[in-house]
Each structure stands twice: as structure tokens, then as C-alpha cells.
């Protein structure tokens, strides 16, 4: 481990990726994630690695696809509409089982969107994003340290399952400065070259193909892989759930507001817990095993106005509570483009406890 330093979430993404052996990065600038490009554009040439400011997001993702074919560790990053532009390329990466890692520092809203700290890209990320029939593993950090840790985890998962991994952060996590300790740096040259990697040598019949040659094998293998990832990759952190009457589901920056709100509610005698999903796909359905049997309600709390995570909480509820109905409530916020205040969350949870808020599912 290295010395503990202060760093922004976005810079931590870049430094952690370098230390994980990132060899090829291509991206197009967009707030609130441009520090990733800025940081890598300084460091990668010094290390003899490739950093490209591409002429568009679409060019960047296609460059990433090409680089990933060689088995190197690659990265692209963007935000909001920039990630939307990459979806065609990401779907191609999924079609070819390429272990691509990307970072989405979310913007707020539709279309061009704004720079508020929002979670309006949940729905796109957890459904795969592009056309077709695939899922990316989606990791959602809530601190600068966790951002750094999830970058190295992303490469491990991407290579283990030969699958796309997205790290979904948001403006608050990208701009927040906190102490962070990085893992020891890995030399990209020391990483093993995967058997499927294209090395520029003549293709012979004994080469492992990128895509299985038998027509039906790929969908069958994909189905098995997605079920396997769903079983093996779920991650979450729970706070005070064992005696909780109500359990809040919140990820990323708002989960830290909820943490403070829970302290206030506990002092007032309210037993409220939190499950903080660290993977958004696969959704941590297993976390519900920690809940007490007579829990009174689940609350999906997120910074978007439609409640994008809400159906996943409801599905997890249905899977776990088969014999009785446990209400699922929605706390969805876009408050002046910022995450809600602690007192607002306290008030909204109290409104649910007192029966003033109707259940959503």
C-alpha cells in the first residue's frame, strides 16, 4: 500500500486505473468527469502508455474496443449524454465478450442534462444500455477510497467474466476530496496476455476465436454467465439493519446523507437501517436476508425524480418476502440539482413511519 494522500474522486479513478495497469485510455471531455482525462493526459505519456483525447465519444469507445481486443487493460470515461453516445460501441464490446471498463460520472436530467449531483443514469446503466441482450456489472462507490478500490475490482471482474464493468459515480463523489490509499502499482507488461487476445500474428485454425463459432453457443453461454454473475457478484454494505423496522436502500452520495439521518432518527428512538448497494447490477437481492422477519417497510431513496431504483427494490422484496406484503416506499429527489439535506431525509422518513406517505409498490 502507498502513503495516504488527499485526492478528488475523479483523480482517484485515474490513479487507481494507472496502478491497475491501465495501458490505453480514450475519452472526450465532459463535466463533471474531465479531471480523469486531464490527470491521465499528464501521467500516461510519462509512463509510455497511450492516452487519447478522441474527437468524439463514439470514436473513443471504438478505440477502446480495438485496444481491448489485444487483451490490454483499457478505460474510457464520460457522463450523461456522453455515455449514451457510447452505447452502440458498448453493445459491440458485449457481443465480443471484451473486458472493457468504463466510468460514468452522472449528470442530472435529460438530453444535455446539467452538472448537478444526480442519479438519473441508473436505469440506463443497469439494463446494459445499448441494444441487445447483455448486462454490464455496475459498481457504485460512495467515497473516494471506495472509488479507487472499485477501479481495481472492475478490472478483476471484467477479466474473470469477460464482461463490461461500469463504475457509476456522480458529481459529488467525483469532486469530493478525501484521504485515499492506493494499491501497489502493477506493470502492464507483467500482466498475462489472455488466450483470446489478438496479437497481430497470422490467425490459424487453432486460435481461440473471440466469438464461439457455433451459432447457438453464444446466447447459451451468455445466459449462464449472467446468472453466474448475479449469484457471485452482489455487493452491499448494511448499517443497523438487524433490528430495523424500516430499511432505506440508497447508494452513492445520497447514502452518506442517509447515514447522518439515521443517526438523528436513532437518537429519537426510531429503528431505521440502511442497505447501500455497491453493485447496482447485479442488484444485491441477498442483502434482504439480513432484515428482520417483521420489518415494516422498505424505502428506495435516490436523486432522480422517477424513482429509477424503486422497481429493483420491489423485485428484491418479492423474492424475499413470499408470505406477506412488505410495502416499498419511494423517496426520489431532484432538489435544485443537489442531493437532499439530512433534515429533509429525516422528515421524509418520518412521513413514511407515520403513514402519511403512500406505498409505491
Amino acid at each position: 500500500m502507498s502513503e495516504t494522500v488527499l485526492m478528488k474522486g475523479n483523480e482517484a479513478v485515474a490513479e487507481a486505473a494507472l496502478r491497475a495497469g491501465l495501458d490505453f485510455y480514450a475519452a472526450y471531455p465532459i463535466t463533471p468527469q474531465t479531471e480523469i482525462l486531464e490527470y491521465l493526459s499528464k501521467k500516461m505519456p510519462e509512463l509510455g502508455r497511450v492516452c487519447v483525447q478522441a474527437d468524439s465519444e463514439i470514436t473513443a469507445i471504438n478505440m477502446i474496443m480495438g485496444a481491448a481486443y489485444t487483451g490490454k487493460r483499457v478505460l474510457t470515461s464520460s457522463a450523461g449524454p456522453g455515455i449514451s453516445l457510447k452505447q452502440e460501441g458498448l453493445s459491440y464490446c458485449a457481443a465480443n465478450d471484451l473486458p472493457v471498463v468504463y466510468v460514468d460520472v452522472q449528470r442530472g436530467g435529460n438530453g444535455l442534462a446539467n452538472m448537478g449531483s444526480c442519479q438519473t443514469e441508473y436505469k440506463r446503466e443497469v439494463t446494459g444500455g445499448g441494444n441487445g441482450d447483455y448486462h454490464a456489472i455496475i459498481l457504485a462507490p460512495a467515497s473516494v477510497q471506495e472509488t479507487a478500490d472499485m477501479v481495481s475490482l472492475a478490472y478483476e471482474l471484467a477479466e474473470k467474466y469477460r464482461n463490461i464493468v461500469g463504475i457509476m459515480t456522480e458529481a459529488t463523489i467525483g469532486q469530493l476530496v478525501e484521504p485515499v490509499t492506493f494499491k501497489e502499482a502493477v506493470d502492464p507488461a507483467s500482466l498475462p496476455v489472455p488466450s483470446w487476445a489478438k496479437t497481430g500474428k497470422m490467425i490459424s485454425s487453432s486460435d481461440e476465436p473471440i466469438k464461439p463459432r457455433i451459432k447457438d453457443a453464444k446466447p447459451k453461454a451468455d445466459r449462464a454467465k449472467y446468472f453466474q454473475m448475479k449469484e457471485e457478484v452482489q455487493m452491499w454494505e448494511s448499517t443497523n439493519v438487524d433490528d430495523a423496522d424500516y430499511v432505506v436502500f440508497a447508494f452513492g452520495a445520497p447514502s452518506r446523507v442517509v447515514y447522518d439521518a439515521l443517526l438523528i432518527l436513532r437518537e429519537e428512538g426510531q429503528k431505521i437501517g440502511m442497505i447501500r448497494p455497491q453493485t447496482l447490477w447485479p442488484y444485491p437481492e441477498k442483502a434482504l436476508e439480513e432484515l428482520k422477519e417483521d420489518v415494516k417497510g422498505l424505502i428506495s431513496l435516490e436523486t432522480n425524480c422517477t424513482g429509477q431504483m424503486l422497481p429493483d427494490v420491489a423485485l428484491a422484496r418479492d423474492l424475499h418476502f413470499k408470505d406477506r406484503h412488505v410495502p416499498v416506499y419511494s423517496c426520489a429527489y431532484i432538489v435544485l440539482d443537489r442531493i437532499p439535506t439530512v433534515m429533509q431525509v429525516v422528515d421524509d422518513i418520518k412521513a413514511i413511519i407515520s403513514g402519511q406517505t403512500e406505498e409505491a409498490y
Binding site: T4, L176, E178, P179, I339, V342
Partner: protein, 177 residues
């Protein structure tokens, strides 16, 4: 509970740098911390502030809430954030710029001529170092010598060692204010 310090003023007054150096000192003396900047697109003139929270344990929301110590570098910052200071908390007001003389009675208000003190040390652009010295004093996180050491290290890394003497004197002026 974590303590909360807010540095607020115009862009260009050094509030973000002062807060960042304070965060560096907190890290080096062993606190957990968060540093959250908020600023407009302008390099100078727009509103800028940062919130630094620190303590020994886990820190929840990094956003401004209950301010224990506020450094208000201009009138708009004073007007906007005075109400967020907790009863019994402290507000350091830049008396070089802020005309207002009447403040909340349930907080301690300390007028400090941040720009004048920096200028007197031949460090016209050192109001942020005066802020840093004052915040080290009013939070009591460490002694001024340790803070000065860490500050010099920060400028050494930035290749700005030649200002270390003036900055050290300026830090002391803030600490004594």
C-alpha cells in the same frame, strides 16, 4: 460527531486553497476528513466556498449543514452562511471588506482584517494563509509550528518554496489574530 468548517468568499480570495491546506494539515495530524468545494465557472469573482468536515470516525454527508466555524471573507458569504453556524459556534469575519457590525448574539464573532494582516507581512496575496492560521487556532487541531511545517511541505511540492518565509510569518499572524 465530525466538526465542520466552512471557508466562503469570492473566487480569487483563496477560500478553496485555504480549505485544501487545512485538509492537508488534518490528514497529516491524523484526522479523517472530507473536503467539498462549491464554485461557479469563473476563476475570479463568482461565489466560492468549501466545506471541510473532520473527526476520528466515519463521516457521513460531506455537504454543509451545521457549521462549527465559518470563515466569511465578504458580505454575501457573511449574509448567506451566518445562519448555518451552530449556536455557540464561531464566525471569523473579514473586517477589511465586511461593513456589517451587528451579528447573531448566540455565536462568537471575531473580526479579522485578513487582507491587511497579509499585506503587513509583505504577502499581498496571502489572505488565505491568514485564514489557515486563524482556523488552526480556532479549531485547536494542532500547534502553529506543526501547521507551518505541513504548509511548507505543501508549497515545496508545488515548487513554491521561495515564499515559505513570508508564508510562515503570515500563518503566525493568522494564528495570533
Amino acid at each position: 460527531m465530525a466538526k465542520e468548517v466552512v471557508f466562503a468568499g469570492f473566487g480569487g480570495q483563496g477560500v478553496l486553497t485555504a480549505g485544501y491546506m487545512f485538509a492537508e494539515i488534518l490528514l497529516k495530524v491524523g484526522f479523517n476528513l472530507t473536503y467539498m468545494p462549491a464554485y461557479g465557472a469563473e476563476m475570479r469573482g463568482g461565489a466560492a466556498n468549501c466545506t471541510v468536515k473532520f473527526g476520528d470516525g466515519k463521516i457521513g454527508s460531506p455537504l454543509m449543514k451545521d457549521v462549527n466555524l465559518l470563515v466569511a471573507m465578504n458580505g454575501p458569504a457573511t449574509d448567506a452562511f451566518e445562519k448555518l453556524v451552530v449556536p455557540g459556534g464561531t464566525m471569523l469575519v473579514n473586517s477589511d471588506i465586511v461593513d456589517r457590525k451587528i451579528f447573531r448574539s448566540d455565536i462568537t464573532v471575531v473580526p479579522i482584517p485578513f487582507n491587511t494582516l497579509a499585506r503587513e507581512e509583505g504577502n499581498d496575496r496571502g489572505a488565505n494563509i491568514v485564514m489557515l492560521g486563524a482556523v488552526v487556532k480556532y479549531t485547536g487541531i494542532t500547534d502553529v509550528e506543526t501547521a507551518a511545517d505541513i504548509m511548507r511541505g505543501y508549497f515545496d511540492e508545488k515548487g513554491k518554496s521561495k515564499y515559505n518565509d513570508a508564508n510562515t510569518r503570515t500563518l503566525h499572524r493568522g494564528y495570533e489574530s
